[in-house]
Structures are given as structure tokens and as C-alpha cells.
């Protein structure tokens, strides 16, 4: 990593407090005005599993967790054994040598052992070993050159609700760790430039929740599932203050149907789940399509197939979401690239769902949803577009009126004179069934065709609101790296690295996936001299979609399906291979 760009890693057993330790550090960095990105690796086990947390802080904006890390806090022996050999120099290992043995032989050159008597400090200050992490945090703050006061503030934020006394004890422990480190070693010359202008730090899913609130969400119905549960937890915690009804349902079938009922009644409602849970929403997705009821679905991907690796990341559900439910009907798929974009995707999703009266997906993943990143303060004054709504008491109201745009005026129960039945069977403009005594009669065969075309026209209308892929980097480049959704992070950082290799590359990033801006996509692909598609699944699900729509086969592909996010250097290596091959 270049100067002014440092990643640290904290590892330990589940229950060791890896997450809270990392969080305090990340907050401290953000409050110091640094740009922060994080990645946490954990397991599908409640206690005892191995957890590690990487936090990157830099003077300039960065996107991914970074390839390398310079400092390691090892809270257990396994962390020292597994992660110490992976460190980059200059760097060090912060550990408590009263409790674990660091085999210095495994350290790369230029990486030092930086022992801290963390347990002893914690015992000394508080009489309990519980705060040993905080002692290592203090040491860490010194080594990277953070201000002790900022660290104190971050501890206060984290532990504030436990009372002032606890905060004080934590501060003392941190200070002792800091002082110990200061005596041992001068700060590394990482050239981080804390500047005091604090930044906001949030995860992709937190940002998405904010966007949903700004977009007027009124009801969230969900069944717990990693990595979507966090959305329910956040919403539940904020439900009272922000007037959101959070309903944990008995399963995902219920969640999706409940969201449809609520939207039918006029409340902006959403659900969130992961692939296995979404699989149970497939039938009701078609119900939303047919009844033209808005519905917002966050599909937070994780490793499949089936239960797979529940705590690991993948981009493997696009194909399911794209094909979900029998027959054809309009659907909209957004795949935000970053925590910032999660915010926008959320409020846009509600507007799109109500404008086009159809299901709208926000396709995130474990990596994006749970990564924390520093972001610019979001604009809370977002447009609220409720789409076509009928006036009370209109004579001869036709809920499914055939229009040029395909969009027909909605009515909400309680409105006078607009009573209608929303039906999952094919129906006419008024909403009357044509599946029973009318089916197959020439007149209604024609009605079916026209209703189908009306609904599908909404996709053409919606296309105008969809955003074309973004080309990032130089227009002319040796290589165009194509990606969608969260893979942006590694690609953008890879471009930075490539700059130093003499290769010019740019990044073609897709985020509004469906309806797809095919013309722009084709033009961009045709303009590329060489293309490399990077995506996190085995079969190249987006690659297939792109080819089906544009007919263009991308030159090269880099795919990952091991549960880990992309690392910039993997992309760099592949780019070099591709261009060497020319």
C-alpha cells in the first residue's frame, strides 16, 4: 500500500470482542478525518469460531479493504499462527505475550513483535481481564499515530450506555496500552494525516436503512437471515422514533405477502432477506407483478448453493432474481456498488416501485452490506414520487387501464368510489377475471394479449429512469474491467495499483441492472479495446445477461466463488495476464 494508507487486522475467537475492538478503531479513524473501509470475516458459529476484522484507513478515498495489512492485533493463538505470516512490512504484531506465544520465525522481514501486557493492564485497572482488547487498542493507536483523545471519544461512544464509570475505566486501560507502546517503539512512518474533520462511518446496510427512511418506508417485514438480519435489527431499534412498523414474520413467504398487502393498502413497505429466504418469495414476486403492487425487496447475497457458507460473500443470486416466478412481468433490479449508493438505491427503489407498480430488487451482498465505509453526509431531502394515483370517486374507474406508458392509476382502500379487486388471475382493465368463464373466447384472448403488453410496456417506460453503466478512469485504456455491484471496490483500487504498472485500464460499472440500458452498455463494450469481466460467482451470471442483451462476449473473465471478496491485487494479476497474452 502507498503511504498514508494503512490496514490493520484484529483476530480472535468469536466472543473475544473482535468486532467491538475493530469498531472503536474504525470510529477513531473516521473521527480523525481519515477514509475508512473495513472487512470482517466470521463464521457460522456463535462462540469459539475464528473471527478477523480488517480496517483500512487512508488519507485519500479508498474502496476496498486493501490487499495487505501492516499491523495485527492477535487476541488468541490461532490469530498469531494464521495471520502473522501474512503481514506486510513495515509493520508489527500487537499481542499479549503473557497469554500467547508469537513464533517470531514466521514473521516476514520488517515486521516486529510488539507485545503488550494487555491482560495485566486490564486486571490492574479494573480487576477483570475483560478490557484487555482495549489495552491493545491503545497500543495500536500509538503505532499508527492516532490521537489518544480521539480514541477516548470513540470509546465513550461505544461504551457510553454502560455508564460513565465503565467509560473511564476503558479510557484508562487504553491510555496504559498507548503509553506502553510509546515507550517501546516510535510510531510507524505510515504518513497517515489525521486532520480532525470527522467523517461519517456506516455499513452498506445501515446506509440502505437511512435511504429507506428518507424514502418514506413505513413497514419492514422480515424473517431473520444473515446478512439481511442487520437491516431488521437496525430498523427495530429505530422503529419507535421513526414510526416504522417492523414485523418479524413466521417465514419469508409471509414477509413478502405481507409487504404486498401493506403496499396495496398504500404504505411503503419492504422486506430484506438472503438467497434462501428469497427463494421462498419467488411465487409472491409474480403476485406483485400481476396485481401491479409495488414491493421493495433487499436481496443480500451470501454464498450458495443452499445454506452454503452463511457468513461469506458471493454475487450468486442475480440469476434467481432475474428469473424469479413463472411467466413474464416487469421487475427492476438495482445493484448498488457502495455504501453511499445503498442509500440512493433505497429511496429510489420506493419511487420506482410506486411509479411502475412492480417489484423492485436491491441486490446487495454480505461484503457490501456489512462493510463499513466513511461516507459524505447524505442528502435527506430526497424526492418522493408516488406515481399515478386516482382521484376519489371517479366514475368508471379502471384500476388496470391500458395506457401508453403501461402505468395505470392506483387506488387505495378507503378511497370513495374506486373499489376494485386486485387479482392474481389475468384480468381486464377493471380488474375482473378473464380466467374463468371468459378464458379462451376470442375477445378475451385478445384482452389477455393487451393486458400483457400493457404491463410489459412499463419496463420500457422505466428504462428512462435507469442509469447507464458508469465508465471510471481514462476513456482510452488498454483494458476495460467490467463489474457489477460491490465488486466496484476491488476494481477501483486495482486501477490505482495498475497506474503504477504502465497498464492503462478503466472500469465499466453496472449498478442499475434491469431494465438494462443496452445501448449504452453495447457502446461502452464496443469502445473497449480489451475487456475483463470480474464477478463473484461461478457461472458468470451477469456476463451471461450482458451477452444475451448485447450479443457481445467479453474477452476475459475473473470469477471468484470461495466466499471471500475480491482483492485488488487479484484483479491486477489477472489484468496483467490478460494484457501479456495479447
Amino acid at each position: 500500500m502507498p503511504e498514508g494508507d494503512v490496514a490493520i487486522r484484529i483476530g480472535g475467537a468469536a466472543g473475544d470482542g473482535v468486532t467491538s475492538t475493530g469498531e472503536v478503531y474504525a470510529i477513531a479513524c473516521a473521527r480523525s478525518g481519515l477514509h475508512v473501509t473495513t472487512y470482517e470475516s466470521y463464521q457460522s458459529v456463535i462462540r469459539g469460531g475464528h473471527v478477523w476484522f480488517q480496517i483500512r484507513a487512508a488519507n485519500e478515498k479508498r474502496y476496498s479493504q486493501g490487499d495487505t495489512f501492516q499491523l495485527l492485533i492477535g487476541l488468541d493463538q490461532q490469530t498469531l499462527d494464521v495471520h502473522a505470516p501474512l503481514l506486510s512490512a513495515p509493520g508489527g504484531v500487537i499481542h499479549d505475550n503473557d497469554r500467547h506465544d508469537l513464533d517470531e520465525g514466521i514473521l516476514p522481514e520488517g515486521v516486529q513483535s510488539l507485545p503488550v501486557p494487555a491482560q495485566a493492564i486490564s486486571m490492574d485497572v479494573s480487576g477483570k481481564p475483560l478490557m484487555q482488547n482495549v489495552a491493545t487498542l491503545g497500543a495500536l493507536a500509538h503505532h499508527v499515530g492516532l490521537d489518544l483523545k480521539v480514541l477516548h471519544g470513540s470509546l465513550a461512544k461505544m461504551f457510553g450506555r454502560k455508564g460513565e464509570e465503565i467509560v473511564k475505566l476503558n479510557e484508562t486501560v487504553a491510555e496504559r496500552g498507548y503509553r506502553h507502546a510509546a515507550k517501546q517503539h516510535k510510531p510507524f512512518e505510515f504518513a497517515l494525516r489525521p486532520n480532525g474533520e470527522g467523517r461519517l462511518l456506516m455499513s452498506g446496510h445501515e446506509s440502505l436503512c437511512l435511504g429507506a427512511l428518507a424514502g418514506g418506508v413505513k413497514l419492514v417485514a422480515q424473517y431473520p437471515m444473515t446478512p439481511a438480519s442487520g437491516i431488521m435489527h437496525w430498523m427495530a431499534a429505530h422503529a419507535k422514533d421513526y414510526g416504522v412498523l417492523v414485523k418479524q414474520t413466521e417465514d419469508e413467504l409471509a414477509a413478502m405477502n405481507l409487504v404486498i398487502g401493506a403496499n396495496f393498502a398504500g404504505a411503503r413497505a419492504m422486506t430484506a432477506t438472503s438467497g434462501g429466504g428469497y427463494a421462498l418469495m419467488v411465487e409472491a414476486t409474480g403476485l406483485a407483478g400481476m396485481t401491479e403492487t409495488p414491493a421493495v425487496i433487499v436481496e443480500a447475497q451470501r454464498v450458495g448453493p443452499s445454506t452454503g457458507l452463511p457468513t461469506k460473500t458471493e454475487q450468486g443470486d442475480l440469476q434467481m432474481v432475474f428469473g424469479a416466478s413463472q411467466g413474464d412481468f416487469p421487475r427492476i433490479i438495482l445493484a448498488p456498488r457502495s455504501p453511499e449508493e445503498c442509500y440512493e438505491a433505497a429511496w429510489r427503489a420506493f419511487n420506482l416501485a410506486e411509479s411502475y407498480q412492480c417489484p423492485v430488487f436491491i441486490l446487495t451482498d454480505l461484503y457490501l452490506g456489512e462493510m463499513w465505509r466513511t461516507v459524505e453526509p447524505p442528502d435527506f431531502q430526497v424526492p418522493i414520487i408516488r406515481g399515478l394515483v386516482a382521484e376519489d370517486g371517479g366514475e368508471g374507474y379502471r384500476r388496470y387501464e391500458i395506457t401508453e406508458s403501461g402505468v395505470s392509476p392506483r387506488a387505495f382502500p378507503g378511497q370513495a368510489g374506486l373499489m376494485f379487486i386486485a387479482g392474481s388471475d389475468e384480468h381486464d382493465e377493471k380488474g375482473e377475471l378473464i380466467s374463468d368463464i371468459r378464458a379462451g373466447l376470442p375477445e378475451y384472448v385478445d384482452t389477455r394479449t393487451r393486458m400483457m403488453e400493457k404491463r410489459m410496456r412499463k419496463l420500457e417506460t422505466a428504462l428512462n429512469e435507469m442509469k447507464p453503466p458508469e465508465l471510471w478512469g481514462p476513456e482510452d485504456a488498454d483494458l476495460t474491467i467490467v463489474s457489477w455491484g460491490s465488486t466496484q471496490a476491488a476494481v477501483r483500487d486495482a486501477l490505482e495499483i495498475l497506474k503504477g504498472t504502465g497498464i492503462t485500464a478503466n472500469s465499466l460499472e453496472f449498478f442499475d441492472l434491469w431494465p438494462l440500458r443496452v445501448d449504452e452498455a453495447r457502446r461502452a463494450l464496443e469502445a473497449a479495446s480489451e475487456t475483463l469481466m470480474v464477478e463473484g460467482n461461478y457461472t458468470g451470471q451477469f456476463h451471461r445477461l450482458l451477452r444475451a442483451e448485447t450479443g457481445i462476449a467479453l474477452g476475459h473473465a475473473l470469477r471468484k466463488y470461495d466466499g471471500e471478496p475480491f482483492y485488488p491485487r487479484e484483479i491486477v494479476a489477472k489484468a496483467e495476464e490478460v494484457l501479456r497474452g495479447r
Partner: protein, 288 residues
């Protein structure tokens, strides 16, 4: 404003087979709605899929004719979005007690304030006559040509054990009692079940009008205490020569909607969308 039956009845003619028990249920429902003097614009009738689930089309109210087995969550979603609306959920025995059984029980334990009318014909009508979860053991159907080998579900007993707060059973052959039961359900605050024996004249040659006429008796004609859970269980398990209809059990308890904090400010659909300046600022503070 007095609401007449003809106002609530839609122009769409039911497509049920002549003699189908569902006609009686439609009429009883119309009568019960009229008795409550509900403005039909504030009524939503929700159903799944099946012959019975076509019912919403025959009322001039709002309606949602969803997918098979999911009537409960859709109805719940409507209630939670706007508790000013009266919600009648309806459908068949297959819809509610077969594929939808889980939702049914969870809805009852939550005591949502809605009325659920199940048109129980002990058969799958619309799919042309397979065994349903209430088909009796031994019943010959298209899917059980040598007789069903399953014991049927007992909706009344299940409702009792799930905690529904108004549990009743009607019979299409007695639309007057049924109208009273439905009206009672509509007036009841909490989950009201009205299970109705509704003969399928086309596919169920066992549970016919005469079958029920010979067997049913009214709970209100006997000394049944509708507040006694164990007595209700006992009645629920009665089957064979004598089959009780009427109100099995009723209890007052808080509804879900009453206890949900987000509804304390009124219906969700009447709340402003988006965030106020203060709310936005408070939120931002959390991320600093």
C-alpha cells in the same frame, strides 16, 4: 348512511356450480356486512385461490385475490398498514388449513383484528376434486382412489390451541346463524374464525347438505359456556353422530394492532413520508 345489501353486492355473477355451499356464505357475508353498517369503501376482502377464493369479486368493496395459501399475510399487511380498514379474509379449506396452515396459526396467536371465513367443503374444488386437509379418513377422491389414509385437521381445536379469540363454525344450510356468526366476528376485536361447512355439490359426495343436516346442532341451544376453554376443546373434538355449530369460544384480549408501538400515531398510510430536519440530524449523529 344505511348500507343496503344491493350496494355491497357486485354486478359480477358468481361462477360457482349451482347449489354450491359458497352461495350461502356470500349471502351471509353480505348480510353481516350490512348489519354492521360498514361503508364498503372501508372494507377489504382478501382471499387465496380456489372456488371459494373467488368471493371478493362478488362484493362491491376493495378486494385482494392473491395466491394459494397466503391470504393471512396479505390480510395482515393490509391491517398493519391501515387499521382503519375492516378486513375479511376468506378462502377454502385447502387454502387455509392445507398450504396456509402455518400462517393461519401464527395469525391467530398474534390476535390480529380481522375475520377469517373458511369455506370448508372438505375437498379441493377448483382443482377438480382431490383430498383436502379436512377430508375424512377413508374418503375416495381423485388423489385417493382407495380412500384417504390421513386423519383430517380439526380447525376448531387448532384455533383453540393457537389462541384465537373468537372461534365459531357455521353451516351453509343455515345462512341465518352464519350471518350472525360473521357479524359477531366483525364486531369482535381480535382474530375471529368462522369455519363453515360449505358442501361442494360436484366433488364431495360424502359431506353433503343432508349429511350435515342430520348431524349438526347448535351450541347456543345447549348449555355451552363460550368462555370455558376446556369445554370448547371438548366440543371441538365432537364428531360423528352429532356435530356442533355456533360459537365455541370467545375471549377478550389485546390485539396486535393495539400493542404495536408504530401504530400509536395512527395508521401508517396517514403518516408523512420521509424525514424531518431534526430526525435527519439525529440520525447523522449516530454515525459520527
Amino acid at each position: 348512511m344505511a348500507v343496503e345489501v344491493h350496494v355491497i353486492k357486485s354486478d359480477t355473477k358468481p361462477t360457482w356450480c349451482p347449489g354450491c355451499g359458497d352461495f350461502g356464505i356470500l349471502n351471509a357475508t353480505l348480510k353481516a356486512v350490512q348489519a354492521t353498517q360498514l361503508d364498503p369503501k372501508d372494507l377489504v376482502v382478501v382471499s387465496g385461490i380456489g372456488c371459494s377464493s373467488n368471493l371478493p369479486h362478488f362484493l362491491r368493496s376493495y378486494g385482494f385475490h392473491g395466491i394459494h395459501g397466503r391470504v393471512m399475510p396479505v390480510a395482515t399487511g393490509i391491517r398493519l398498514a391501515n387499521p382503519d380498514l375492516t378486513v375479511i379474509a376468506t378462502g377454502g379449506d385447502g387454502d387455509g388449513y392445507g398450504i396456509g396452515l402455518g400462517h393461519f396459526i401464527h395469525a391467530m396467536r398474534r390476535n390480529f383484528d380481522l375475520t377469517y371465513i373458511v369455506m370448508n367443503n372438505e375437498i379441493y374444488g377448483l382443482t377438480t376434486g382431490q383430498a383436502s386437509p379436512t377430508s375424512e379418513k377413508g374418503m375416495v377422491t381423485k388423489s385417493t382412489p382407495w380412500g384417504s389414509i390421513e386423519w383430517p385437521v380439526n380447525p376448531i381445536a387448532l384455533a383453540l390451541s393457537a389462541g384465537a379469540s373468537y372461534i365459531s363454525r357455521g353451516f351453509s344450510g343455515d345462512p341465518k346463524q352464519m350471518a350472525t356468526l360473521i357479524e359477531g366476528g366483525l364486531r369482535h376485536k381480535g382474530f375471529a374464525l368462522v369455519d363453515v361447512f360449505s358442501p361442494c355439490v360436484t366433488y364431495n359426495k360424502v359431506n353433503t347438505y343432508p349429511f350435515f343436516r342430520e348431524r349438526v346442532y347448535k351450541l347456543e341451544d345447549e348449555d355451552h359456556d363460550t368462555s370455558d376453554l376446556l369445554a370448547a376443546y371438548e366440543k371441538a373434538h365432537e364428531w360423528g353422530e352429532r356435530i356442533p355449530i355456533g360459537l365455541f369460544y370467545r375471549v377478550d384480549k389485546a390485539t396486535y394492532e393495539e400493542e404495536e408501538p408504530a401504530l400509536s400515531r395512527g395508521p401508517l398510510v396517514k403518516q408523512p413520508l420521509g424525514l424531518s430536519q431534526e430526525q435527519a440530524e439525529a440520525l447523522i449523529q449516530e454515525f459520527r
